[in-house]
Assembly symmetry: C3
Homo-oligomer: 345 residues x 3
């Protein structure tokens, strides 16, 4: 429970209304009831906001006039403010320091660190203060994990990687598995190239469940500060991702691709190897990036949904586009040549 | 070993042939031999069925005439009947009740429950009768798991989720990791929005290996009864999936999408966020659904395979489709304007 | 540290230069410094190779002339040679035999085998010499694992599977989960078909992190010798993959597909069920294979990247391709009919 005044004292914003009003949680306009703090992030929901049962609302300055009579926190970016209030109401669970009796730990562990049951930590691992190693995680020899970073259950970090501070690694994440590198014999058989690079992860990085980030072949794989990766993403060896880039679920990045800062990569997007993507690039969901993108902007290559019948009718032509284009060129030539050619009679 | 009469007594169907004949397993028409029960699910394999070495066959009424001389179980849907007989021959392994000495359990465990080595179960977890928690699984505080549900190895369920009865969660499944929710600061940095919703999963749900289902942001993520999810599927926060919907491997569903009942979603399909898909919709493999589908039917958007050379030739035109369409329009205008415009001489 | 002569003695190749020169690691042309052995795999980097600070270089015979004055190892395939030297410098870590006290092992374990903390191995499992079972792995009853095979952490192998010799299974891999097989009731509910086949994996197979390979329904799923699978790949039940085929990250193969030997399948590619792909087929990244490929070659079906604006402009026509083609046909008919039809005046 926070009083509105307390919230504004901590997070800023202008309070219009009763400072002593108490709210217990944040809620959407739809769900909000007595004791809730809702937020209006989009002007098209003004009517809903006026009618909503929330005790108070977070709104932008230009919405104040239409919300008269309501208790308001006014801030330029209500959605961002909502995120901060939500953190206030729902802080991460407190670290419960100690090493579980069923953990296997071969390194020094600071007193503030929590190591869950079934965790195994090899020799030479360095753990910062307040680190949480979840149940059944494995941390390989020589890896360093920065202060405040939390590993959920069943996370695997291979040897000699570096994870920054205040990161969150969700369950099933795998960091530092061998990159996919092989040389081919004449017989067709593949000879493994040992992957001796590392994975270096910055601070404030969040990595979704079952996402995998491979170690580099000779050089390192590098993930910048503040990067957010969703679930089931594949980051191949020697990829470099700039600060604050965000990537949605099931995206895949092939080896040695370099992605700039503040990029937004859509779900199931694919990024080919050995290319460069500039800062501030947005790649739509379900889009393949097979060449470098030197300039900020929004890039897309996906297909419109159709009924199966329309798809059959329309897409049968895709295999004959070149012929179609040639037929159009031929028609143009006929027309340019005038009617004589077409009507020899 | 079951006699044909026993099978029909348990599962229904009409027996034509020797009731005392014993069969020991089900098999395909190709593989079936002495002691096997095969099934004819598709009339185009009648000849193969007649020649097959199986001791008996499951057939539909309209195939009986052509199978004279064979021992038959006659049923309207032989494939469904095959599934039921296969369950008879291969029931799930019996639960072996007890908590392994290497498990870490902080809740009450019914006597009929099996908890494997390395499993960790936090306080306040409620387990129904006959639940199996596999090796190295983790179940977070306050989660409820219904009667008869089985977790294979290395499954992670976060706190406060609800799993129904008779579900199967395969190895590496992650339920209830944080949804992917962030608000952006002007600097480009992302502020985490705490994910305080839950995951609610119905009864008779099967979830494939390494599939991930995120918890809701404010509201819950909801999976209906009888839903079947294949491997490596990503279900984002606040998604709702209706009863008996089935989804093939590597599909991805973005946040707040609502999918109806009895839908069939193909492999590697993508479903964008905040849209609605009606009941009984079929989405083809490898298809992106970027807008709502209000009506049952089959929907597709994928590309025809080509040799690389044909692909280069044909798909180079995709970046110039608009120009091509304009050229066609221009030709039409020329033609409609008559020959004068085209032959000013 | 190896002297050049030692390397050539072990791996072949012709030594041009000082036999006693010692090198400590392999490096790229860019990174190489004193004590490094670099390689020139592509003639376009000759200038860089000449300038590079490496102590010695691996080159092909046709590059020798341009590299005069440098210490060289000459071999027909420098990249392959590099792979072998890299293995010399970075052999896999030695097996540390023994069963960790926190492992739960119900089978006989050869003295040369390493079993990590939290591992659980059920009855009837057969382990070859020098096998490594990583931390928190689970191996189900009756499974056989061949000599020298290594499982990283958190790997799950279900019951009754067969893994060959000298394989590497990376963290989070799941082998032998149930295939995705159901029969549908009239109500729309799905009846599970027990999956009683196995997974059979050959020798020298490497499987990337969080990749899943399902067990067969009635028959087995089969992975040939020398197959290399990247991370987050889904192999469905009854798939068969020929020897030395390689598959990049996030690819998906649907049930009963048969893939030949020495194929190369690109990242995020999809292969539909019940089809055949010949030997030596190359499938480009992000390509759907929805029909059989009876002949070796390169096959592609993916989309060109566009700015979002160009994409809107161009791809809006995809839903009207059939109409466009009909308009072109109509124009052709008009032209063939001569100007009379078009200029009735």
């Amino acid at each position: 429970m926070f009083q509105l005044q307390e919230i504004v004292d901590r997070l800023g914003g202008d309070l219009l209304g009763e400072p002593a009003l108490a709210v217990a949680r944040v809620a959407t306009l739809e769900q909000a009831g007595e004791g809730d703090l809702a937020f209006l992030a989009n002007r098209k929901y003004v009517a809903q906001a006026r009618a909503c049962a929330a005790t108070a609302l977070i709104v932008s300055p230009d919405a104040v006039e239409q919300m008269s009579g309501r208790s308001l926190i006014v801030t330029p970016d209500p959605y961002l403010y909502f995120a901060r209030v939500a953190q206030l109401f729902s802080p991460p669970p407190a670290v419960q320091p100690g090493v579980h009796r069923l953990a296997a730990v071969a390194c020094a562990v600071p007193g503030s660190v929590q190591v869950g049951p079934g965790a195994s930590i090899e020799e030479g691992v360095e753990l910062g203060e307040d680190v949480v190693i979840g149940p059944n995680c494995h941390v390989g020899r020589g890896t360093r994990i920065g202060r405040g970073t939390r590993l959920a259950a069943n996370v695997t970090i291979y040897h000699d990687c570096v994870i920054g501070e205040d990161c969150i690694l969700h369950a099933g994440v795998v960091i530092g598995a061998d990159g996919f590198g092989f040389a081919r014999e004449r017989s067709g058989a593949w000879v493994k190239i040992p992957q001796v690079g590392r994975v270096l992860i910055g601070n404030d990085v969040e990595i979704g469940a079952n996402t995998t980030i491979d170690r580099g072949a000779l050089d390192d794989t590098v993930i910048g500060d503040g990067v957010k990766l969703d679930n089931l993403i594949q980051i191949a060896h020697n990829v470099r991702i700039g600060d604050h880039t965000i990537m949605a679920g099931c995206a895949g990045v092939a080896g040695s691709a370099q992605i700039g800062a503040r990029c937004m990569i859509g779900g199931q997007a694919g990024i080919s190897g050995h290319l460069n993507i500039a800062d501030d690039v947005v790649v739509s969901a379900w889009t393949l990036v097979a060449k470098s993108i030197p300039k900020a902007g929004v890039y897309t290559s996906n297909l419109p949904l159709q009924t199966h019948g329309d798809w059959v009718r329309n897409f049968s032509h895709l295999r004959h586009l070149d012929a179609l284009a040639k037929r159009v060129r031929h028609l143009e030539q006929q027309n340019n040549d005038g009617p004589k050619d077409r009507d020899p009679g």
